[in-house]
Symmetry: C2
């Protein structure tokens, strides 16, 4: 199903032309290559073979295909997608059956959005900020530097009106979306140089994609885009001074602790990344209400279970990293966090001014943020601080 | 369905004899009376009329009854239970239909546990710490002073092994349990006296039930148990100096801001209370796998949606309390939080030493806590602090 000879997208000059596309690509490739070995890349030709495949209706039964942006067996995200499909099939007594294909197995990771939008397949699974090139306003539905946490995103999406804003953004693409996983707050990254002031960021060679990369670029960081397969070696050989990837559980598997001195926190650039389930709206509308309710409940269940798995596994991995591998954990100094926050605000202002669609989503996001933030400070944050006294 | 002439349980001398029973009762009564008006109380005789009612099986269809500890229309908890039942019915195409009865409508709130345990009804909805008199170890599955937050409890229950511990605790009672809602961190309470040192707690007359009450008692507080209907007046007239209830959304409805000067945070005594769905194990085992999966997914969906609603509504209510009602929000001083934490540890040590079943659950809870806590500090907590700089 996979082909090692296919080119990796972000090696192509075309992708190098666009920072957004580059970072999107980079992000996806990192996921695809994560497990190591023969995960392979992307054969655009494969799309042709399955183009226009409709949902299968036979005596009220539906057989759908889900394409994901993740490598086969990618922990939590890909395994969670498969678990979601199993549960939907079980709950529906087999009336809705979803075959899950990892990135590159049926369509390239970068083609997931288009494949679902066009109805080539019915379902996709990835992250909204991968489609920043098509819809920059979609980034608010994954994570924004210094934005909402997982719990706050759930509050916005499940109760505070965010779901409607999301569906409005995706309607022109014939898509409906649901949160299906969340990473929680990520780590700040692996560094071979101590970061004590904003000046220490000047000239640093770092791999950090997306909006976080744009913020770092403003800080004078030389943001480097490299295929995932080259990350470890680049860090070890000094081609990179730093990189960010995910959290302790995923990072430990890639062995970065052997190539970097310091592991910085917190992940100010991704405070709770939402993973999305996208469904072609024609396919969605063809489902009877009971199957729609099953898909909704199963995706919500997958969402909360993913965060639970992240918290558990990150906790375990952190223990091993510190006790066994003697990793030095360092909190970014307040001055640096303040500086990055200021640059993140600048980055956002520019993005908002450049695009009215971004402004619309930004305004809704910020209106909710202003309402929930004072409460979070007095509840979750104040409690965690009280407990730690 | 309700009877205003029935006595309120915690007015009876029998209940006054036992602190556990009293506080349990008080907690339930507060919920039942919440909406105000003719919610009424509990007629034990009503149980007889429905005793032994089995699940109805007819051509693969199940009709169940759920009894809750909440007043009719009690926001989020009771409305969430009803929403859960609607979704189960929808997802199952009507094969599993659950009729929901609020506290006192079919059985008294305090009888929910026994009614489900005995199979009188199939399903219950309440909080595990209400049953502390029967199983003190059950308290870990609601909230513990200075214990796990909502996100950490989800991590423990959905991934970290907590669900198995919970089911082991409830197995002798013929019950299986699922989380079905979570309050998040609550508020510390309404006070008419400033709390600047631990000494200020001496002799304070406060309504605070459960383990939080035991901790306050150790601090010299005169813990008062009163029916919910008397709380507002008692605070206004100085019979109480302080009380804790829930969070801004629920508290605002009761008007406490008119009777108290200061609103303290954070709610160290209830950092994320889990609301439980309990199912008679015989009824549960009689369900086919697809219906079991539907109940599991629907309860998980209800759980995350409840917290989302709390965060949204508490955020809105906080704004009104501060801007319109000029409520003074005060954080407990560090010295007081440290002092209460020490007394909470003492309280827990005594509880653990008094009961091997408590020790078993406590050890599992703490083992998970030690694993997740360092990660939470570096992720959620460090991020929230970074954002607030």
């Amino acid at each position: 199903m996979v082909d090692d000879n296919c080119p990796v997208e972000n090696d192509s000059p075309k992708d190098r032309d666009s920072a957004t596309s580059d970072s999107t690509c980079d992000k996806q490739v990192k996921r695809r290559d994560f497990i190591g070995g023969a995960i392979g890349a992307v054969c655009a030709g494969a799309v042709g073979a399955i183009a226009g495949a409709p949902a299968v209706h036979a005596s009220g039964k539906f057989r759908w295909r889900m394409v994901t942006t993740w490598p086969p067996r990618f922990p939590i995200f890909q395994t969670g997608a498969e678990d979601f499909a199993r549960k939907v099939k079980l709950m529906s007594g087999g009336r809705l059956s979803i075959d899950v294909f990892a990135g590159g197995e049926l369509v390239p990771p970068l083609s997931v959005f288009d494949a679902v939008s066009s109805g080539t397949v019915q379902v996709g699974n990835g992250a909204a900020y991968y489609w920043a090139g098509k819809a920059p306003e979609a980034q608010f539905f994954t994570a924004i530097p210094f934005g909402l946490t997982a719990q706050q995103m759930n509050a916005w999406l499940y109760y505070g009106g965010g779901q409607k804003v999301w569906n409005d953004v995706y309607a022109p693409f014939n898509l409906v979306a649901f949160p299906i996983a969340n990473s929680g707050v990520q780590m700040g990254g692996w560094f071979n140089k101590k970061i004590e002031t904003m000046a220490d960021l000047q000239g640093l060679k770092m791999r950090i994609p997306g909006l976080g990369g744009k913020v770092m670029n403003k800080a004078g960081v030389n943001v480097v885009l490299l295929p995932a397969s080259e990350l470890y070696t680049s860090l070890e050989r000094g081609v990179l001074d730093a990189l960010e990837w995910a959290g302790p559980y995923h990072d430990m598997k890639l062995g970065f602790y052997r190539a970097a001195k310091y592991y910085y926190y917190p992940g100010w650039h991704e405070p709770g990344s939402v993973i999305e389930l996208i469904i072609n709206s024609k396919a969605w509308n063809s489902l009877p209400k009971d199957l729609q309710a099953i898909v909704t409940a199963a995706s919500t269940e997958a969402n909360v279970r993913a965060l639970a798995e992240f918290d558990s596994r990150n906790g375990e991995a952190l223990e091993v990293l510190v006790d066994k591998y003697r990793v030095k954990l360092i909190k970014f100094p307040d001055e640096v966090l303040r500086g990055l926050h200021g640059l993140a605000d600048e980055t956002m202002t520019e993005l908002v001014e450049s695009n009215p669609k971004v402004k619309k989503v930004h305004d809704a996001f910020m209106a909710f943020s202003r309402k929930v933030e004072p409460w979070t400070k007095m509840s979750e944050r104040a409690y965690m601080e009280a407990k730690g006294l």
